[in-house]
Symmetry: C2
Amino acid sequence: MFNDATTQEIETVMQEAWKAFHVYRKLSLRQRAGFMRAIAKEIEALGDVLLNTAGEETNLPEARLRNERARTLFQLTSYADACERGDWLEASIDTAIPDRNPPKPDIRKMLVPLGPVVVFGAANFPFAYSTAGGDTACAFAAGCPVIVKAHPAHAQTSELVAGAINKAAIACYMPKGIFSHVHGVSFEVGKVLIEHPCTKAVGFTGSFSGGKQLFDWANQRKEPIPVFAEMSSINPVFLLPEKMKVSAMETAKMYAASITLGVGQFCTNPGLIIGIDNEHLQKFISALGDELTRTAPGTMLNPGIFKNYVEKRANALSQEAVVTLAVSETKPALNQGTPTLASTSAATFINNPILHQEVFGPYSIVIRCKDMQEMITVAEHIEGQLTVTLMATDNDILNLDELVEAVKNICGRFILNSVPTGVEVCQSMQHGGPFPATTDSRFTSVGADGFKRFARPMAFQNWSNALLPDELKDENPLKIRRTVNNIPQSPDQPVHPGKSSEGV
Amino acid sequence: MFNDATTQEIETVMQEAWKAFHVYRKLSLRQRAGFMRAIAKEIEALGDVLLNTAGEETNLPEARLRNERARTLFQLTSYADACERGDWLEASIDTAIPDRNPPKPDIRKMLVPLGPVVVFGAANFPFAYSTAGGDTACAFAAGCPVIVKAHPAHAQTSELVAGAINKAAIACYMPKGIFSHVHGVSFEVGKVLIEHPCTKAVGFTGSFSGGKQLFDWANQRKEPIPVFAEMSSINPVFLLPEKMKVSAMETAKMYAASITLGVGQFCTNPGLIIGIDNEHLQKFISALGDELTRTAPGTMLNPGIFKNYVEKRANALSQEAVVTLAVSETKPALNQGTPTLASTSAATFINNPILHQEVFGPYSIVIRCKDMQEMITVAEHIEGQLTVTLMATDNDILNLDELVEAVKNICGRFILNSVPTGVEVCQSMQHGGPFPATTDSRFTSVGADGFKRFARPMAFQNWSNALLPDELKDENPLKIRRTVNNIPQSPDQPVHPGKSSEGV
């Protein structure tokens, strides 16, 4: 339907983005925020056409798409607020001490944008992690132009959203090149985008193989650039003994819903459940299996994702010593993913890397441990994850410190007595985790801290007040939070020159 | 003198570091800070033996070594203060909104340590960027064990400092494995350290070829890990027209001192000076040349660095259309680096990548531009730098916005009317810059923000107050700065549960 962008087209797009960068980076936080709010309004103005198009392309139900659109608008507007508030700039001022030996210079620091950011959207979130999704919103807030490579699975939806962004760009007098939208079914398009010297950072949400490939290309450039790829997570859930004694049934119900939510097509889907092999775990497994047996298959995003689910699930189930515990009783229609529960022993899991891989869909495997020591060993053998969940009483936690500490080591978000699905958009969210969950655990793709993926600190030394950017001027005209001589200030506090910290 | 560590020795060291990590990460900020302060005391207690040993190994004069030791102690103690203050944890709390649809969970986030950090010290800073230098101090503050590979050029100095760290570790009841010290002349030792699965981050200060090699090894691991390598910078200085009209002589004196400071062996040495070719620049060049002619050569750190200087300088001077303007008149003794000034045209510089490379030593090249437009073109063709300096009047700055913006794009620290040598240790310092200055421009190796290279955010969702780490408890027992529902709080403010921000 859409032609792949040619190398020449990408060259033009990137040159324009580079030019736009030098204009856009100088715009005020308020102007950036205004642009982001205008994008939200334009997306809203697309109305049901957008929902219908996305529904046709992704098979996602309307209610889900309405929620996802609301989330996307909230991302844009709440990140706009955060952008304008300016806390994320990490502005810091050290005032001069001229009479120190040697004299201490005046040094002031703030974050500045990296440059054009290439965004690869996700198949499973046509709005929230795609064209005008979190990565794009973070890049705009940070002061970077954005080049989106439309996901081929929802290219028409992406076109509509791109149109809304372009409309907002014109209405807000943004420079040409602030946003570009290219199509590409071939991996070549992504490669050319990443290898272009004007590309300064990359955001990606998708498969491990896709994200790792982009990461490798970016690091093989003459000038390596940062890639934040959110790739792969099976979101382990540890069922602790006392909790299971009192809440096996309730937990099973909760997890049946979480495993099958959105036909299991979430990066936070709980694909691994670890328990102590006893009567309570049996009760949990039996109840969870019953629930999944009764849950009807659902249509998956597209035939490719369905095929992938069928193959990965079959591969997992065919591994030695893996037992299929439950399969939905309803016969699936075309491209429908069937809820499935498997089980195996801790020893089998630890020794078979295939069982550590994500099976993207309504699938989970229960790992039976002989005792707590074996559960800790399992935790120590799990790769990096977006989330880990404990189902535990307070006593479980207090008694099992070793497990808690082992788990802290492998996850970005640590959940207690809840489900991993559902990623709240807020400042305290961490959506990122040790490799292979993401390519850099030090960043998040959800929440305003996500801006920092696309910005770097720059220090100004010995500049006169009048020549400094507004963010760093004594009088703090933007009223942003700053640290002055190591002390965090309230936004209405100006700097008193001459008052400085000690130093050698 | 010292044997290279064997693969088996490294295996033992890394296993011990891994075990120590699980103990050390749980220690309080106060305990970490106490350990760092104890290291400073133990280093001080080494007294003149340390200075004498370092002097013998590096040829650095005693006064410089005294200053560098003071700087190293200040790093350890000021980072200890920053560690304890806890601002760097970026603690953030979003309280629950149970009656929202869907309910908003309680989410709280803070930085946690990555794991064992391998540190490669610098040849030119036996104390401040070596065994107990900035990288080691940052890693300890962040909660990470450290494995130092001693620089072969000052291995005995490194041994002494390592002994001080080990003494402090014992006195502070630190876990075995909190610090290890290995020797390695062969690059194999570095490779084995970086490829070990228990290594979770790397700090490096040194050459481009060394840093880039570590970066590549780290990215080729099954689990890639972050490397902060500070590698290469020629620290361009732009001489703007009005400033040259009034201060050519003064600027020349200032820069003669900066170019030859420490025999030019600083990563912030001004190796590139760009001016408009006119009578004022001639005056500057002539005065700078005179100063360098009169400056005596100095003994370099070691024969390898001297040899490298001679070769790189000869190579630069032999390039077509490069003129040697001035060479120190004093005949150099063994291993002494000769102050040297070269010059060429902007066109030659732009087209010859050899002239963009660092010549580590008392060398600088003046680039003559026809006009401001050509100066801007030069700025656009310069790779990433730790620092860029403008020698400029206010008018110069206000008139030459395009140059200022081009420069902002290539540097980590932007200096006005001063010299790049001298890196202040303070919160607002940025010692890092776009590639190839460092491997990740989003971080710094000087200042307490350097901790963030070795830490990652982790979110706790739905945890009860009693089970949360102290840093995130409602009552804020550690009295650290936190953001609550998007609003930065003062350290004595507890959280009022139930008071939350809006969300969808």
